[in-house]
């Protein structure tokens, strides 16, 4: 079951094509990573799913219904370009933004008190926004994104401008939202956080979708049968002498008698590799190396760009 589905979305700005026949869907309870270089069309797609702008072609469905203005109250959106009224008091501003999400004033105050306590910013309730640090402002922005407890969230570069401690705090909050059953679109350049948080990804480049799927499936799809072996040996080791030519040694490093080697093998021959090594060295660790999302991202984008040139 998908919480949101965008079918064959196209959007042009004059001669510029922002999106060309892009379809994406978010499974209920999943976090979808929306990846792509700058100017790929991510923000346009997000704005269309938020009902801020309309597509030239294609349709968006929310919980099976055609997306309309009423659905925006079930969406929590943290835009990349985000700010607050600098001269307005923090608490009042949060109440205002909550009320625009359709929450009654008293209920808004109750929920805000909870969140302000949780993020330890209650003392700032009556201060002006311009007196707050950037990190605190980001916390306020996160709070007003989740205040109406929607079933679906869109976070556009949520970690930009956060210090490492607050990034962790936010990461845990996002995982908590998922645990409570929320579905999330997570748009970012930060590939490490994608691997940590996302279940599925969609890769967009130059207005087109070039890759999508479950993150584990994609990693398997792009895996190169690369294994990392760490071993210990008292005598100098001639690895190439020990292995047949079916094993391609990518690199080997040693720190005194501790060795780390990257070896590319034929599919499903990792046991043969171990068998070849065990008589000669003491194995410390042995693991398959999957390509990082960053590598997949860069290789896919470059492939497409080369093809087009």
């Amino acid at each position: 079951m998908n919480i949101i589905e965008a079918h064959n979305i196209s959007k042009n700005y004059g001669n510029f094509t922002a999106l060309d026949n892009v379809s994406i869907s978010v499974k209920k309870g999943h976090i979808l990573g929306l990846l792509g270089p700058n100017g790929a069309g991510k923000t346009t797609l997000i704005r269309i799913m938020n009902h801020i702008i309309a597509p030239d072609k294609g349709e968006v469905f929310f919980s099976g219904e055609k997306l309309t203005q009423k659905h925006v109250y079930q969406i929590g959106y943290l835009p990349e370009e985000r700010g607050l009224y600098k001269k307005m008091k923090v608490g009042e501003q949060a109440i205002y933004l909550a009320r625009l999400k359709g929450i009654h004033r008293n209920e808004a105050i109750k929920r805000l008190r909870f969140w302000f306590d949780k993020f330890a910013i209650t003392p700032w309730w009556n201060r002006k926004v311009e007196e707050l640090s950037k990190g605190m402002q980001q916390k306020v922005q996160f709070i007003v994104t989740v205040i109406h407890e929607p079933a679906f969230y869109i976070f556009d570069e949520p970690f930009s401008g956060f210090d490492p401690i607050n990034v962790n705090l936010l990461k845990n909050e996002i995982l908590d939202l998922k645990k409570q059953g929320a579905s999330i679109i997570f748009s970012t350049h930060n590939m490490a956080s994608v691997e940590e948080l996302c279940d599925d990804i969609v890769l967009i480049n130059k207005a087109e979708k070039i890759l999508e799927g479950n993150i584990k499936t994609i990693k398997n799809q792009f895996k190169e049968n690369l294994f990392q072996v760490q071993f210990q040996s008292a005598n100098p080791v001639d690895l190439a002498g020990l292995l047949t030519e079916n094993f391609d040694i990518q690199s080997i490093e040693n720190n005194e008698d501790e060795y780390t080697a990257l070896i590319k093998i034929q599919a499903n021959t990792q046991n043969d590799l171990l068998n070849a090594l065990i008589p000669h060295v003491n194995i410390k660790s042995f693991q398959e190396i999957f390509p990082s999302m960053n590598d997949i991202f860069i290789s896919q984008v470059n492939k497409i760009n080369l093809k087009n040139n």
Binding site: I52, I53, V72, P79, E81, K87, Y96, L97, R99, L100
Partner: protein, 458 residues
């Protein structure tokens, strides 16, 4: 709808709570008063006082001092001319007016060591002329200049030019030309009020929209409300701020006038001063008047008052107030939405100027030609300016007080309809520019871009 109300509330209360609003509300009228009064005060006090010593051998100019010219004082001296010239050289006196005895033509010589400043010579000559004519009147006709002036004024004031308007059916209606002043004043005041209101509060709309965009809060808000709701909310919110300020000014003006009237009752009653002047007239005043002139004069002042009332009564105030409110609101909405569009489109303050000019121009133009419109309220300039929506709020209000001879009913209906259409078109265009503009960052916007945004269908 509920969302718009929340936006209006925030817009209103945030602005009203600001120190700048309170200061502006208090200082606004003060600044205005200073602006109006300073030139007058400067003219009054900038001139240095000059004392001129007079040696009058002709004995025709015994009273050169005049209450009208307070900057020049005449001091009469009995010393000889040569003594006075020495005084002038030793700087004991500043200027010397020597009037020798001359049986043919009276005249004098003004001796000075340095320039006396602008206009002193002509002022001295004027004082001499006035003094001499007073002497002549008193000696040969036995009447003072003041009495003569009052008499002449009272007689000439009775001259009146009637005007008869003949409509298509050959029906005649009378209106004294005196009405024109009242009509002019009312038209101008309403025109200027609309002009000031539109300029002050539309630039406030622009500032607030621009602030929202540069603060980057606009995308957070547009994820809960439609851009057009946000825009309308801001425009209406600022309208309420303006009305609040206007109300405060009107109420304080009424209170101020009330206080003045209670403290200085005579300031406002012209009748009392007239009577006082009449009572102080010397007896010989009436020698030159017809026997029944006193009665005539009393009637005269009544006619003046009645005429003023008649001029006011002649103006259709219900229509005028309704039209004022109509153009006040629609004019504000038309310009405010255009200003909001600009505020949403531009990315920095410097870019604002190039887009401001074309939408400010029509209003300015209407203001400049208002004089022509008032002179010829039935003419073609008046017609076209009061039909085109961008200029009609000012032009129509200047024409309206002149009544049915200047503005036909169909013109009013046409003007109002076009204004409503113009208003809707402006809001529609503005909404299109606004919704695209507010989400566009870091790009220098051209007119071509604006045109493209209008054509986008969303």
């Amino acid at each position: 709808m509920n969302k718009i109300l929340i936006i209006i509330r925030r817009e209103y209360f945030e602005a009203v709570k600001k120190k700048s609003f309170i200061i502006m509300t208090i200082l606004g009228p003060l600044l205005m008063a200073i602006l109006v009064l300073t030139p007058a005060l400067l003219v009054k006090y900038a001139k240095d006082d000059t004392t001129i010593t007079v040696l009058d051998e002709s004995h025709l100019f015994s009273n050169l001092n005049s209450p009208n010219d307070k900057n020049i004082h005449y001091v009469y001296s009995n010393k000889s001319l040569s003594e006075l010239k020495n005084d002038l050289l030793s700087k004991e006196i500043k200027a010397l007016l020597y009037i020798p005895y001359n049986s043919v033509t009276p005249g004098g010589m003004l001796y000075t060591t340095s320039s006396l400043g602008r206009g002193v010579t002509s002022n001295v000559l004027a004082s001499m002329k006035r003094n001499l004519s007073n002497e002549i009147l008193l000696n040969e006709f036995n009447i003072s200049q003041d009495s003569l002036n009052i008499y002449i004024e009272n007689q000439t004031n009775k001259i009146m030019l009637g005007q008869t308007f003949i409509n298509k059916n050959g029906e005649e209606s009378h209106k004294e030309s005196y009405h024109k002043d009242v009509q002019l004043a009312i038209g101008f005041i309403s025109g200027i009020l609309i002009y000031i209101f539109i300029f002050m509060y539309c630039s406030m709309v622009l500032r607030n929209v621009f602030e929202e965009k540069t603060n980057r809060i606009v995308e957070i808000i547009t994820s809960s409300v439609k851009p057009i709701q946000l825009m309308i909310g801001k425009i209406v919110g600022v309208a309420f701020i303006g009305l609040t300020q206007l109300l405060i000014w009107i109420v304080s003006l009424v209170i101020l006038l009330g206080v003045v009237q209670v403290s200085f009752p005579t300031v406002f009653s012209n009748d009392n001063t007239n009577i006082a002047v009449t009572e102080n007239l010397p007896d010989d005043y009436y020698q030159y008047k017809p026997a029944n002139s006193q009665i005539a004069e009393i009637q005269d002042s009544n006619i003046m008052d009645n005429e003023f009332v008649a001029a006011l009564a002649n103006i259709n105030f219900t229509q005028l107030i309704l039209m004022f409110l109509f153009f006040f609101i629609t004019g504000y909405f038309l310009y405010a939405s255009l200003y909001a569009a600009i505020g949403g489109a531009v990315d920095n303050n410097a870019d604002t100027q190039q887009f401001m000019l074309p939408i400010t121009l029509p209003l300015l133009l209407a203001f400049i030609v208002s004089q022509y419109i008032a002179e010829n309220p039935g003419g073609s300039i008046a017609f076209w300016f009061s039909i085109i929506p961008l200029t009609s709020p000012i032009a129509m209000l200047i024409r309206l007080p002149f009544g049915i001879e200047a503005v036909q009913s169909w013109e009013i209906i046409l003007s109002c309809s076009l204004m409503l259409i113009g208003c809707m078109v402006a809001v529609w265009i503005a909404a299109k520019i606004y919704r695209t503009g507010i989400l566009m960052y870091g790009k220098k916007i051209t007119y071509k871009d604006l045109w493209k945004w209008i054509k986008y269908n969303q």
